[in-house]
């Protein structure tokens, strides 16, 4: 986009815990001047209808992420370690509770 536009507020990622006992899940992002404002905006924007009991906000530029190009280096090795999965092991049907 055009270089002369500088957004005055940084971007934050928002995570909401839908109810006690569940993980916080990423729901989207928003712009805010600081963390406190990001929390307030997140409440207004992402929890207008009881969607959550707890909110986290994180500055987007603080998130480190694996890239799509890293797919093999990060995720391929698990494909040839099938012995990590319980279904790898053949157990006779006659053996109960295993």
């Amino acid at each position: 986009m055009s270089d002369d536009v500088k957004h005055e507020w940084p971007l934050f990622e928002v995570f909401v815990r839908a109810k006690r006992g569940l993980n916080h899940v990423h729901v989207g992002s928003l712009r805010a001047a600081d963390h406190q404002m990001a929390l307030h905006h997140a409440r207004d924007l992402y929890t207008r209808r009881n969607e959550g009991v707890s909110i986290w906000v994180v500055r987007s530029d603080d998130v480190a992420a694996s890239g799509p190009g890293d797919k093999d280096a990060f995720f391929a090795p698990s494909g040839d370690k099938m012995y990590r999965h319980p279904t790898y092991y053949a157990i006779p049907d006659s053996v109960p509770h295993i």
């Binding site: 055009s2 001047a33 890239g67 799509p68």
Partner: protein, 308 residues
């Protein structure tokens, strides 16, 4: 596989494209345009109904309308957030809207003349929006699809509150019933135009279908909307202003008349009843809010400086 094959393969398998994936420039540009246009529609869409918040006939209706208009703001923000995942900048998108370089839905260029319009917008305009938007929940672009899921859940409230409002008015005085019929007469055709030009005049559709960012043609969705709306109009006791509207047993659909496509072209190109008013209001809100944005940023910078 090279990058382009991975992209094509992902789409072919009906999987989603995510922000950091490689994508063709055309896909990125089309998605930014589609999402921005949608976001702008939500934000401009606050105005026609927002005008009635202070004039709502009861506290209950006022609270409902306030919640609805707040939802529209929220929808705009979900969508700007999705556009930003493609490298667009929110401030830049707003400027493009204000300068008339990006468009928004033609429907919001019509005036709201009575409180019945609040009900008819909920019933027909949001009903048409739901027809358009439900298939977009399966858009090949992940962040857009996810925003659409959230939006569709909330649109259902919008449509139902509108229909309930109209049922209440239809149970009122003859003058109130006339107000509803007059409003339906004014909004029916513009609602049909919300689905865009007929298929044979919709140049970008084929590519958008191939990329799975559009799932049904304009005419298919328009037909679906007509079929949904006729029984709803009957239940409400209003007449849809189209003498050609008849059930066609062979097709299993309603036949209906042709919208005034010249009118749609005029409204899209800026010559609708309220185009300049809508943009002027948006420009003023942006300018009036500038000092708040600057003050908040200055406050944040000062606090960060103290903490460091």
């Amino acid at each position: 596989m090279n990058e382009e094959q991975v992209f094509t393969d992902t789409i072919a398998k009906d999987q989603r494209i995510e922000p950091r994936d490689w994508m063709p420039d055309g896909y990125r540009k089309t998605m930014i345009r589609q999402i921005a246009q949608h976001a702008h529609s939500e934000i401009i869409g606050m105005q026609p109904e927002g005008e009635w918040i202070t004039r709502a006939p009861s506290l209950r209706r006022k609270a409902i309308l306030l919640a609805k208009v707040q939802d529209e703001a929220g929808h705009g923000l979900y969508l700007y957030s999705a556009a930003e995942t493609l490298g667009a900048d929110r401030g830049d998108l707003t400027r493009r809207l204000i300068e008339g370089r990006q468009k928004y839905s033609s429907i919001f260029n019509y005036p709201t003349l009575s409180f019945a319009d609040v009900g008819v917008i909920g019933w027909l305009v949001d009903g048409a929006a739901i027809c358009n938007q439900v298939p977009l929940c399966r858009s090949s672009y992940g962040p857009y699809g996810r925003a659409m899921i959230r939006i569709c859940k909330e649109e259902s409230f919008h449509q139902r509150q509108g229909y309930e409002l109209l049922m209440t008015m239809m149970g009122g005085t003859p003058a109130q019933r006339e107000m509803v019929q007059d409003s339906v007469n004014r909004w029916w055709w513009p609602s049909l135009m919300m689905f865009g030009p007929p298929d044979d005049q919709s140049p970008n559709s084929a590519q958008s279908m191939a990329w799975k960012i559009k799932r049904h043609s304009n005419d298919e969705l328009r037909q679906r909307f007509v079929d949904m709306s006729v029984p709803q109009a009957e239940a409400l006791g209003v007449t849809l202003p189209d003498p050609e509207l008849t059930w066609n047993a062979d097709r299993g659909h309603y036949d209906f008349g042709t919208p005034d496509w010249d009118e749609l072209k005029r409204v899209i190109s800026g010559d609708g009843p309220c185009n300049s008013l809508r943009i002027e209001n948006r420009r003023r809100a942006d300018e009036d809010g500038a000092w708040v944005r600057e003050a908040a940023a200055a406050h944040a910078a000062k606090k960060a400086g103290v903490a460091a």
